[in-house]
């Protein structure tokens, strides 16, 4: 254990992938990935179910052998130094993996013994971890009596029990209600800040990656298609889009939009005009005033801030939901994707908003989440 700590200094990367590949027969689950995650990062793997995220995590956790390529965790090779890799990482699986007949404290004690921790260390760590995940008062109750959120917290705490350098969280909020999910996010963020542990989280929830992660790798069909901060990814879309519903838009409006320096791009649509700009919220009044001046009748105003969903869409040509439906019905998903692909063009905003109810809620949640961050920091 001690040598695993000294090793960290030599390698600033908590995780490094080099051409990592996993094939199951004909299927390529993980395709030639190269990536580095820095020590202390809160890193997200974002992608639809079936993109290869869990396969990647399972390889890094030494539960699966790669078909090709190499990777290191905490500087240790995942195929030749499995013992050291396992000592260096904690993992919370997608499916719950607790012994419900044991108490919370007993689950932690079991884990500690499996990771070679002696009595003194167990007696120090178990109360610490229980405190960390707010379960100290339920420590001696069997896990059966825990709520879903409590079980998840216990699992996250257990993953940290042996003080690993890297913590993998595979879809940590799947199956949790919205409130518990939010609480869990806060725990994860606090852990990352306080203990400095590198956290790699896989998720197919856009807002989760957006809210939590410092950097996000977008995975699709076994490949990493983009890596950047959530902000960087969203900025790549070129800013916010204001969609103005207009009756008989006068051509003068379009001429005057051409002159405005804050307008990056504008497109006439069936129902009005879509304008791409930075800080769209501050430009809505300008745009409304401008339209008024040209005598246009405004029927609707819609501000769309860039979301990771839109980033995924613009890179892969499908929404995540379509991709996931696509694993059941392949051809259709692709077609759909290219058709209503560019949301920025705002073809039929009302229809889409109605169709994509889920997407819309996610976007709102993101804004709320950001507000929370602003408040606490």
């Amino acid at each position: 254990m001690t040598d695993s700590r000294t090793n960290t200094g030599a390698d600033a990367n908590a995780i490094a992938l080099d051409g990592l590949t996993k094939r199951f027969g004909e299927t390529v689950a993980v395709d030639d990935l190269s990536l580095a995650v820095e020590s202390g990062e809160l890193f997200g793997l974002l992608g639809p179910n079936g993109a290869g995220k869990s396969t990647l995590i399972n390889m890094l956790a030494t539960l699966l052998d790669p078909t090709d390529g190499t990777a290191t965790v905490n500087g240790y090779d995942i195929t030749t130094e499995t013992g050291d890799v396992r000592d260096s990482l904690g993992i919370v699986f997608q499916e719950p993996a607790l012994d419900e007949e044991l108490t919370g404290a007993e689950n932690l004690a079991f884990h500690a013994r499996m990771y070679g921790k002696g009595k003194a260390e167990r007696e120090r760590r178990i109360p610490e971890v229980l405190d960390l995940v707010d379960l100290a008062d339920r420590a001696d109750e069997t896990v059966e009596s825990y709520s879903g959120g409590m079980q998840r917290r216990l699992e996250i705490g257990r993953g940290l029990m042996h003080e690993p350098e890297v913590l993998f969280l595979d879809e940590p909020t799947t199956g949790l209600d919205a409130r518990t999910r939010r609480d869990t996010w806060e725990y994860i963020q606090r852990l990352n800040e306080h203990s400095g542990v590198t956290i790699v989280i896989t998720t197919h929830h856009m807002n989760e990656a957006d809210f939590l992660c410092e950097r996000v790798a977008i995975m699709d069909q076994g490949e990493i298609v983009a890596v950047d901060s959530p902000k960087g990814l969203k900025d790549s879309l070129g800013g916010d889009t204001i969609v103005l519903g207009l009756e008989d838009p006068p051509t003068e409006l379009f001429d005057r939009l051409d002159d405005r320096p804050w307008v990056r791009e504008h497109t006439a649509t069936d129902a009005g005009v879509a304008v791409t700009t930075a800080r769209g919220d501050t430009r809505v009044p300008d745009l409304v005033r401008l339209a008024d001046e040209t005598g246009a009748t405004i029927t609707a105003v819609d501000l769309r801030t860039p979301s990771l969903e839109n980033v995924f869409l613009s890179i892969t040509g499908s929404t995540i939901t379509e991709r996931e439906a696509g694993s059941a019905d392949d051809g259709r998903a692709g077609d759909n994707g290219s058709e209503n692909g560019r949301t920025g063009d705002a073809g039929s905003s009302a229809e889409e908003a109605a169709d994509d109810g889920e997407q819309a809620t996610e976007a709102t949640e993101t804004t709320e989440a950001e507000a929370t961050v602003g408040g606490t920091s």
Partner: protein, 256 residues
Amino acid sequence: MSLIDPRGIYGLWLRDVKRFVRTPSQIAGSLAFPLLFLVFLGFGLRGVPIPGLPEGVAYLQYLVPGIVGFSMLFGASFAGLAILSDQDVGFLKEILVAPVSRTSIVLGRIAGGSTTAIVQATLILLISIPLGFELAGLWSLPLAALFLVLIAITFVGFGIALASQFSDSEGFSLIVQFLIFPLLFLSGALVPIEGFPEPVQYLALVNPLTYGVDGLRAALVGASRYPIVVDFGALVVSSVVMVSLGAYLFERVDAV
């Protein structure tokens, strides 16, 4: 990862023991079957002349060591089932991702499964005393304990080896139903194997339970078919074989 990790083995053992103690219904359930056999055969066949029964040994005296062996089979099948139910609830991953060798995991499970099986067998033995069973002497007990340990290791090892070939508990349970009774009948646990046709007797010779029950009889009743050292030797061999087989097969179980 060292091959033998005492702390990991102890952790696995402790977990099995805690779970066992907390589920009295399972204990009662696993005792019920052997007790039914004990009561109905023991009393039903009392005084009936049975071919091959050792001179001067009452049938109940003959039967009790066999029923104790029978309860060991049950205990061992539960241990195999425990691995698969861990898989069903996802806990197996928590075990497999820990820096503990597969061999140590198998040893930990054998330790846990053997302990619970031995406790059940001991309960059967205790219950049989008020029913009329007489121990050959106090020295019987440590000797019987030794045989119980070897039987437990053999069959829990076998249970783990078998469980590692299944991906869910249903298929395993089905196969176990088909295995338990032939193993039981072909061991001389209920009636002496001398009465069987000759080819069937050969099958009994390769059944480790034959030597387990015979050894228990030597220890508890003082009458056995083979010399006690032969029983002991055969069980040591079967224990080593089954533990190795369990470790070998479990090593190859896919973690995900």
